[in-house]
């Protein structure tokens, strides 16, 4: 997935000189996850450069650049470190078009690796998507595979509004079904690991059905799509698995159609449960599908605690927890 993201940057910078890349260690070194490798060499150090360790400064200057007319695509080294830039994201990037009635706009992409599974403990594992989905004016995107990552990132860079682009870091080097004790599978062995070298976009706001089924609908995104698929296969249940890809705007029609068909719904995410994005999904689904629902909607999510180091796999909502929840939904 790293190559796909790097390639999206490369194509975007090649196609549009207004695209600039900034972030901690993204310049000469090419990013701690290598997502910007080679860009400085190719496009020069005023188009891809290292920033001081100030997420506020990165987002704040990027807003100024976007208002100027550039298309900054900036990296926050870990989603856990976006908080110092949160004021600029929420109070500024998200509101600039609105408060100036379109006179000033903010075409800005803020990328950040998210999620756990790499023993990063509480400050390298967070999934803060719900802190963005609550903010009017932001779009929030989270791919689950390289092909989508590239197409969504290019769509995000083209988008005239600020886009939060969450990259599940556990998927950087391969799909991950949650069985942490099994050998790592690289992307090249996965069908979605094949990425066209061309410039293409995946539209924001469109979910993808990863598996069709009739027993229940599983709504998920990012790493957890793979975990959900694994749990489904292991249980042998005929679930429909929807990968949301974009959280805001939400592809409500796809969700509603599926749940009305299956009559059952499970929501799976890695972020802490309470007030997570799953709550919004549950609220929407129960309202839109009330007369079709045969069982309460269940949520599988991270526990409402910080992400522990030693207990990483006790915390991570792996296939067993997902399977148990599938059973609960099916048996209710």
């Amino acid at each position: 997935m790293i190559e796909a993201i790097q390639n999206a940057h490369d194509l975007a910078m090649g196609a549009d000189e207004r695209v600039v890349v900034m972030g901690q260690d993204v310049g000469y070194f090419g990013g701690v996850f290598r997502c910007t490798a080679g860009l400085q060499k190719k496009y020069g150090k005023t188009r891809c450069f290292d920033a001081p360790i100030s997420e506020l400064g990165i987002v704040g200057t990027a807003i100024g650049m976007a208002a100027y007319g550039l298309r900054p695509c900036v990296e926050i080294q870990f989603a856990d470190y976006m908080y110092p830039g949160y004021d600029q994201i929420v109070s500024e990037a998200a509101r600039l078009r609105y408060r100036s009635a379109g006179e000033f706009t903010c075409p800005l992409v803020i990328r950040m690796p998210t999620g756990g599974g790499i023993y990063g403990a509480q400050t390298h594992s967070q999934s803060p998507e719900a802190l963005f989905t609550h903010v009017a004016g932001l779009k929030t995107v989270i791919p689950s595979n390289p092909a989508d990552a590239k197409g969504l990132l290019l769509a995000a860079i083209e988008d005239p509004d600020p886009v939060i682009f969450l990259e599940p870091k556990r998927l950087y080097n391969g799909p991950f079904d949650g069985h942490h004790d099994r050998p790592v599978v690289p992307w090249k062995k996965h069908e979605a690991g094949e990425v066209s070298p061309d410039y293409y976009t995946v539209p924001l706001g469109k979910a993808a059905t990863r598996r069709e089924g009739s027993d229940l609908t599983i709504l998920s995104y990012g790493t957890m799509v793979h975990v959900a698929l694994a749990a489904v296969e292991e249980l042998g249940v005929d679930a429909e698995v929807i990968d949301l890809r974009t959280l805001i705007p939400l592809d409500k029609p796809a969700i509603v159609e599926s749940v009305r068909k299956t009559g059952r719904c499970l929501i799976v995410h890695e972020a802490t449960l309470t007030s997570g994005y799953g709550a919004e999904l549950a609220a929407v689904v129960q309202r839109e599908c009330f007369y079709h629902l045969e069982a309460p909607i269940e949520r599988v999510a991270g526990w409402d605690t910080p992400y522990p180091h030693a207990g990483e796999w006790d915390y991570f909502p792996g296939p067993n927890r997902v399977a148990a929840a599938i059973k609960a939904v099916m048996e209710a």
Partner: protein, 413 residues
């Protein structure tokens, strides 16, 4: 590790202004250099060699109405008369809008009383295409740029003529055309955005510069630091203005400033040259601003400029300063009134007269009243033509996403 029980107890210092209501204002200890006293370094002077400029006060107009010293001479009499008219217009405008707020025609207002020179004079150092990132107390930038008063009033009234569709608090103007960035209610956020905007100009190998604005109190915010870090690192073509009007609502400047003598000194921590200027001296503001803008244009990087002035009125219409400072403090303020000072100078050099001034006042009053009538003919916050509630759902995104379409329908539009 050893025990240290033999130590005297520590105690917390909490800075206090010299006087509180009931006390007698006394500014005699504030050292104010003579007009003309402060040197004018070369534009490309090394910051390390001009540290003294952060601790003095650059002044051009002396008490007798002369323009003196190395910072004098940046403006023609014609330009100065324009400046006088801008300041008088801003003051008249403020006065009318204040009354309009008291009359319930809008919810809120913020004046510039005593600080008119800062924004009015600075605007004149900018070129078309340059961008200010102002606070709510720099409407003089718009007035001096010739932005129509009617449009400003429509914003204050949140009526149908407001180009921002009544969405923003009164005085939160925006005009790209006039180099005035959309105002935010969150203090200081614009400061670092200005640096980014300036960086963009440099990245694009353009010639535009940015001007960042912040109040004394707001320099404590994080954005101020980020702005200085980024401006200093990338040598962004930006003027980093600090308007020190002595007060942040009820809090005196000593709380934000702490132990440094001045706000200008903040620049020294970053190797950024810093000027400190008499903010009530139109000529000094212009000269210092021009110096800093020239540095930016020559790709020499950022300059910090502190304007020493005084917020003569309440913080806003929600504030009554008599609760925290003596009523007479404003009059005791030693740097005088910017309008009277410029007027006196123009008269002294034979380019203005009491008669012309009275006439100008009348003309300006008339202009403002006419603009107000025009604006009120459209509407005020509570009556007349107001933006449609339908507008509320526009501009959240470039294209309205389905959930907002749905909500707009729910709202009945």
């Amino acid at each position: 590790m050893t025990e240290a029980n033999d130590r005297l107890p520590l105690s917390l210092t909490v800075p206090e202004p010299d006087v509180r209501p009931g006390g007698q204002p006394d500014f005699s200890h504030v050292r104010i250099p003579q007009a003309g006293e402060i040197r004018r370094p070369a534009i490309d002077e090394d910051p390390e060699n001009m540290r003294d400029l952060a601790f003095g006060i650059i002044r051009v107009l002396d008490r007798d109405g002369n323009a003196v010293g190395p910072w004098a001479g940046s403006l023609s009499p014609e330009e100065l008369r324009d400046g006088l008219r801008h300041m008088m217009t801003l003051r008249a405008y403020d006065a009318r809008m204040l009354v309009a707020q008291r009359q319930g025609k809008t919810s809120f207002y913020m004046q510039h009383l005593g600080e008119e020179a800062v924004s009015c004079a600075f605007q004149r150092v900018l070129n078309k295409g340059d961008m200010n990132f102002p606070t709510y107390r720099q409407a003089g930038l718009l007035v001096a740029a010739g932005y129509p008063l009617v449009k400003m009033m429509c914003q204050v009234y949140s009526n149908d003529g407001d180009s921002a569709r009544g969405r923003q608090l009164p005085v939160f103007y925006s005009s790209k055309e006039n180099g005035f960035f959309s105002i935010s209610g969150n203090l200081a956020t614009q400061y670092v955005q200005a640096v980014g905007w300036a960086m963009a100009s440099a990245i694009m190998r353009d010639t535009k510069i940015a001007a960042a604005w912040i109040g004394d109190g707001s320099t404590a915010e994080s954005d101020f630091h980020a702005a200085l870090v980024f401006a200093s690192t990338y040598k962004a073509p930006v003027v980093l203005n600090i308007v020190n009007n002595q007060w942040a609502i009820s809090t005196f400047q000593g709380i934000a400033r702490g132990g440094s003598g001045t706000f200008a000194a903040r620049g020294h921590g970053f190797g950024i040259p810093a000027l400190r200027v008499d903010g009530n001296d139109y000529l000094a503001v212009h000269a210092a601003g021009a110096w800093a803008a020239e540095r930016a244009r020559r790709n020499l990087g950022p300059t910090v400029v502190e304007y020493v002035t005084y917020r003569a009125a309440g913080h806003s219409t929600s504030d009554d300063p008599s609760g925290y400072r003596p009523k007479q403090e404003s009059e005791a303020w030693p740097l005088g009134d910017p309008i009277l000072r410029l007027k006196g100078y123009l008269i002294a050099i034979g380019e203005w007269s009491e008669e012309r001034h009275v006439q100008a006042e009348a003309e300006i009053a008339d202009t403002v009243v006419r603009a107000q009538k025009e604006a009120e003919a459209i509407g005020t916050l509570q009556s007349g033509r107001r933006p449609s509630p339908k507008d509320m759902f526009e501009d959240v995104y470039a294209e309205m996403p389905p959930h907002l379409v749905e909500q707009r329908q729910q709202a009945g539009y």
